[in-house]
């Protein structure tokens, strides 16, 4: 089967994830949208791996998963800390870093 449908699906998921990041204000949901974008990229990697007939793309997807796991752990810890001090998980509330 051609790779193009997979890539288009990947692009759609990525775009939806990006819009989600931009419109949602709950930090945890924003995080989920980021994960969606990462997964969309992974799909592209795996597709290209098949396209080219070697495993490098799968390796890249693997590394993305590792990094995503680490990122989620730290990111959620940060959200927890912010929530503990400000009783809010909204990304708009954490807007002190400005002029």
């Amino acid at each position: 089967m051609s790779a193009t449908p997979f890539l288009i699906l990947s692009a759609l998921l990525f775009g939806v994830g990006a819009v989600g990041v931009l419109v949602r204000r709950n930090a945890i949901v924003v995080f989920m949208c980021v994960e969606l974008m990462l997964n969309a990229a992974n799909l592209a990697f795996v597709t290209f791996s098949r396209q080219h007939g070697n495993f490098d793309g799968q390796i890249a997807a693997f590394f993305v998963m590792v990094v995503a796991a680490a990122e989620v752990v730290v990111g959620l810890a940060i959200i927890m800390t912010i929530f503990r001090t400000r009783r809010s998980a909204s990304v708009d509330d954490a807007s002190l870093l400005k002029y």
Binding site: V21, V23, R25, V91, D92, A94, S95, L97, K98, Y99
Partner: protein, 620 residues
Amino acid sequence: MSLLYLIVGIPAISAAVLLLGGRLTDRWGHLLGALAPLASFVAGLVAFAQLAGGDDEALTQRLFTWIDVAGFHVDIGLLFDPLSAVFVLLITGVGSLIHIYSIGYMEHDERRRRFFGYLNLFVAAMLTLVLADDYLALFLGWEGVGLASYLLIGFWQYKVSAAVAAKKAFVVNRVGDLGMALAIMLMFATFGSTSFEGVAGGMGQASAATATALGLLLLLAACGKSAQVPLQSWLLDAMEGPTPVSALIHAATMVTAGVYLVTRSNFIYDQTETAQTAVVVVGLVTLLWGAVIGCAKDDIKKVLAGSTMSQIGYMMLAAGIGPAGYAFAIFHLLTHGFFKANLFLGAGSVMHGMNDEVDMRRYGALRSVMPVTFVTFALGYLAIIGFPGLAGFWSKDKIIEAAFGENVLIGVGAVAGAGITAFYMTRLMLMTFISQRRWAKEAHPHESPLVMTVPLIVLGALSVVGGALLLNGWIVDWLEPVVGREEHQDLPISATLITVSVLVVVLAGVAAAVVMYGRDKVATRAPSRVSPFTKAARADLYGDAFNEAALMRPGQYLTRSLVYADNRGVDGAVNGLAAVVGGTSGRVRRWQSGFVRSYALSMLGGSALLLLAVVAVKLA
């Protein structure tokens, strides 16, 4: 194996011990300090005997390589030739006497040990200067004596006047040192070497312009160190230092370094008429300048300082004449070293007995209370005015003769200087030792202790017999290997006539002084209604005023305008730029809303734009 290094080494080590040893050496420091130049003198005598007895033209000793880089090689070596020899003996001999004298003079000063440390430092530096075989090493000694001079003029630094005088001497000397440094650089650029040998060897091929430039630059250096016009202003103020310092540094040795430099560089000056003429003119102007100042001063040390300037003017004059004058310049330098040290030490002895009073108008009739000082001082007096038979007579007469051989006008100027010298020295003599007593109430004049009078007696004797150096033309023969000689000088008038005329002029000067100060009572306060000439002489012939108006004020205006330009122009541009950046940033930072999602939106916008560009390029 030559022991030349001992001559420099002994006082240098002694200075190091005294200055680094601190209070540990307080009890015996002055003895070590006085012994060091004495030992150096003995070493100098041994070397002198070796030189006089042997066939060698000079004793040399190579110590070590100082600088060795591509194309530039400087060895530190010692050169003991006839010229250096007489200087070494003068410095260590007179130096020893003055050190011994200082034991008594500085007895009540709690920093006597430090004083001796500085004196030894000076002696070591001065010996480095005269023993160096390379202009760069000579420069080392040159700066060393400058440092010692600075330290010793300002020895009583709690006095503002002393501190200011020391600073002035230092600054004025820097102007001269500039000439020295430029001359050395020029030598290196032209000859690739700075040793006497290398420069003398290279002079044959050098252009006249190079020779003239070198001669004038070295003259500038000599002017600074020897207090010659136009760099004369520091010497009178330098009298703020202790009197032995004035005797050793500012009369007998350091200030003659300029004469030494010109004489040593004879191979340069022989190539350039212009520079020689410049030296003669500087000498002539200074000898009259100093003599005129000496006539109007009431401070005994300043009179002697003016006299020193004047006598060094004679030496420069002689050195500028060329081979006919070099030997007499050195001859006068030696005799002057004897009698001027004698006079300064005598003045110090008088001050010692008069509670450090320096105003001659508060002296008078001291001959009976200070007989030894009086007699030795009188011998020095007779020597300087050129009383027949004494040291100064022979040396000054020869210089005047050489001056006439050069030019009648210069000869007349030199004779006039001799007359003025007779006038001011007689004035000093009368006001101090003869006339009526004008002592301050609390003054109890007394003769100085033996440790001070013995050096006076020795120097007085040398003032009398110093002329013996000319016996059979010895000094001329002795110096011939270094400076050459010129046998036949055509004199416009006979030598005898010159001598007689000089004696007449001197007698006239003495008579004038006797008429003015011998008969009438001398006022205890300097009269304020005086002729413009006296006023000018009292103001050092407006040397300081000129420096201030011509150099200091414009310099201050220049720095002030530069500071203004820096503050307004340079700083203004820089600050303006910073303000523009700061203002722009202040406006731009308003875009920072703090909302992460806005930032993410712009990021996505950027990525989309980038992608758009890529796609557009690919499709186009």
